[in-house]
């Protein structure tokens, strides 16, 4: 039971952290609860479908279907996060000022919310389909359904709880700095997801690795440790990245940052000056 709880927790973690960041980034925006929970519900539905057709997906496109689906989901999420950040760099300061003034949720329009609801959907879709396959695999192998269910629920609850802790931590940030910090979080998250997508495209044989291993920081922090896993999700930490992953990471980071500067308010103060250490 504990084993299944740990595996479900690990799968749920990525989705939970992404949802926490999305909730942080939409702080103070009226109607976000509906959009985000809609995204989660649609993601769960999609995850069950993907799990049910896992065999067909794996066989598609000469056995590359799974890699392409993963890369597609990740890159779509990157695009939505980028769009959100660019929108926020143009409107974020105004939004924060408005929130301070009225002291309650403000209406920011449905556009940035729909982008982030889609990010939620994609995160739940990707991680949820693996969770569904795992739980199905356990139930098919005849593990007691009671303990299986309990393990799954425990893992899910623990993942959601950690997401909540991160979200509450975000809320402790003063509103004046809030959107620049969530902006950085979204930016690093997007870069990490892009690097992850590059890994899948390399696995599909569509991109060269350039070099198999740019560095090895496993002696310092193993990626499969808990802290390594957390940093992998949040900022794309990898202890042994391929060249192509580093390229995707840097290009995504620089591109989104440049777009934020380009579309930001003149003399853009919404873009933070100092980069947090990665």
């Amino acid at each position: 039971m504990l084993g299944s709880a740990v595996i479900v927790f690990r799968e749920v973690l990525e989705a939970a952290l992404i949802i926490a960041i999305v909730l942080g980034a939409t702080r103070g925006v009226a109607g976000r609860g509906r959009w985000v929970s809609g995204g989660i519900a649609a993601g769960v539905l999609g995850a069950v479908l993907v799990a049910a057709f896992a065999g067909a997906i794996a066989d598609a496109v000469q056995g590359r279907g799974q890699e392409l689906l993963n890369a597609g989901i990740l890159l779509a999420a990157v695009a939505m996060l980028a769009w959100h950040n660019v929108w926020m760099s143009a409107h974020g300061r105004q939004l924060a000022a408005q929130m301070k003034q009225v002291g309650h949720d403000v209406s920011a329009g449905a556009k940035p919310l729909s982008a982030l609801a889609l990010v939620t959907l994609l995160a739940v879709l990707r991680e949820g389909s693996e969770t569904a396959l795992f739980l199905y695999s356990l139930s098919a192998s005849g593990a007691g359904s009671g303990s299986l269910l309990l393990g799954g629920v425990l893992g899910l609850a623990a993942g959601a709880a950690l997401g909540l802790v991160i979200y509450r931590g975000l809320l402790a940030i003063p509103i004046g700095h809030f959107f620049s910090i969530t902006g950085w979080l979204v930016l690093l998250l997007a870069a990490g997801l892009a690097a992850n997508a590059a890994g899948f495209l390399n696995q599909a044989g569509l991109l060269p690795a350039i070099t198999q291993q740019v560095w090895n920081s496993g002696w310092l922090l193993r990626q499969d440790s808990w802290l390594g896993t957390l940093l992998h999700i949040l900022v794309g930490y990898s202890d042994r990245p391929m060249g192509i992953q580093v390229v995707f990471y840097v290009v995504t980071l620089v591109t989104i940052y440049a777009l934020m500067r380009l579309f930001g308010n003149t003399g853009s103060r919404t873009v933070p000056a100092a980069q947090p250490s990665v």
Binding site: G55, G63, E67, E130, F134, S137, Q203, Q223, R240
Partner: protein, 110 residues
């Protein structure tokens, strides 16, 4: 100038050679009772290698390797291919994420 026939012949010869090489580079891993067989698989170093993973269990498994930077879900009773390398000589661990306590193995590139 090379005649069309010579060109065609060499293309055919090369593609035959290519397919022969591709076949020679298939390495079979079987998942059975949540274990990899063989648990240690020798592969040539410095070459791109195709692993064919046959999951003979009824349940899905996720083939995962931090060393090889690969992760792939293999539904029950299906085969999947994973390309790796070219690898420098050495050992590369992999595991089945859904049954990590038993499903452990490594590639030995030499």
């Amino acid at each position: 100038m090379v005649s069309f026939r010579t060109w065609l012949a060499s293309v055919v010869a090369l593609s035959l050679l290519g397919s022969a090489v591709a076949q020679a580079d298939d390495y079979l891993l079987v998942i059975k009772n949540h274990r990899f067989e063989p648990a240690e698989l020798p592969v040539p170093a410095g070459k791109r290698v195709k692993l064919v993973i046959h999951n003979q269990d009824a349940t899905a498994e996720e083939f995962e390797s931090h060393d090889l930077r690969r992760e792939k879900i293999i539904p029950g009773n299906t085969k999947a291919s994973v390309w790796v390398g070219p690898l420098p000589a050495g050992e590369y661990g992999f595991f089945g994420e859904f049954h990590e306590d038993t499903a452990q193995g490594k590639l030995i590139a030499k």
